[in-house]
């Protein structure tokens, strides 16, 4: 059993009363106090075109990460960071199946791909991950990337059961 911790700190003067978050979670297996013990390791990918692609695939043959369907009550976690100094550039983070199409859409109507949010330059996120086959893939699409002008570089790590 491993011990993995994530410490989040948010500080803001956005209100006259302030806003602060200081929280640490220890990543455990679903429904237990036993720590997660598997990981994808820290991955770095270079996206050299604007295609909408799967970044992390759930429950698919050949996936580095085993199926983590919601019915399995698993407790996977995903951390993603967009390595870019230019804050006007972003990567679109989706949930679903990039194979549904390469055209960026907000919602294609059949729920096979949906945009969660955008990571602008230097931003990161950490979320739990269901990882269900096809509909649970985490997809990515850069706003700017090319072989000649520079790839969109994304780092991620998955912790899972």
């Amino acid at each position: 059993m491993a011990t993995i911790t994530a410490q989040l700190t948010v500080n803001s003067d956005i209100t006259d009363y302030g806003l602060a978050i200081n929280n640490t979670m220890t990543m455990s297996k679903a429904g237990s106090t036993t720590g997660l013990e598997r990981t994808s390791g820290v991955q770095r990918v270079h996206l050299e075109n604007l295609n909408h692609v799967d970044l992390i695939r759930g429950g698919l043959a050949g996936s580095a990460v085993a199926d983590m369907t919601v019915t399995g009550d698993t407790a996977g976690k995903v951390y993603i960071k967009y390595l870019e100094d230019d804050t006007s550039k972003f990567i679109r983070i989706g949930l679903g199946n990039a194979a549904d199409g390469t055209t960026q859409t907000v919602n294609n109507g059949d729920q096979t791909f949906f945009e969660m949010g955008k990571l602008y330059g230097n931003e990161w996120m950490i979320i739990p991950w269901n990882g269900a086959s096809n509909v649970g893939d985490i997809t990515v699409q850069p706003s700017s990337a090319s072989v000649t002008d520079g790839a969109a570089i994304v780092e991620y790590i998955v912790f899972y059961e």
Binding site: T3, I14, D73, E123
Partner: protein
């Protein structure tokens, strides 16, 4: 202009052969700018006593013609399951798709586009919902820091 910073540190001394230590910090800006986010829903804390899924923020409602005011803007969402029972979880969804489950003590920190699509008749917009696993009562914290929240007019009738 407000300044909001977010930092994460991921550590493990025994997951791998060598210690894992990963840190990141950033300032939260409005989409595509270096202007700080200046609005928030405030930190909410609720004791949820039903397993029904609920919207955490005002629902993104289709009007049949226009994208919603804050569609595509920059928002950051924090959700934490404050339960101390390791068997209790909340299921977090966006657009009715499961992102994942937050077990006791787990949190998430994610961007949110408040996406909407006027062409989708099913009204599957980007609402973030949570559903507790038990109806015996669970404490949950959440907040959103953003460029704006579209609050509904009073007595809104949804077609």
């Amino acid at each position: 202009m407000a300044t909001t910073t977010a930092a994460i540190t991921l550590t493990s001394a025994d997951l791998l052969t060598d210690a894992l230590s990963l840190s990141a910090t950033n300032t939260l800006y409005k989409a595509g700018t270096t202007i700080g986010l200046d609005q928030t829903t405030g930190m909410a804390r609720a004791y949820l006593t039903s397993t029904s899924a609920i919207d955490l923020f005002p629902a993104i409602i289709e009007d049949g013609t226009n994208l919603r005011t804050f569609n595509g803007t920059s928002s950051w969402v924090y959700i934490c399951n404050k339960s101390e029972d390791e068997t209790e979880y909340i299921t977090v969804k966006i657009c009715e798709q499961v992102i994942g489950k937050l077990y006791a003590g787990d949190f998430l920190w994610m961007p949110w586009s408040q996406p909407a699509d006027v062409t989708n008749a099913a009204n599957h917009h980007g609402d973030i919902t949570i559903a507790p696993s038990v109806a015996t009562g669970m404490w949950v914290d959440w907040t959103c820091i953003n460029e704006g929240t579209e609050y509904h007019t009073e007595n809104l009738v949804i077609a």
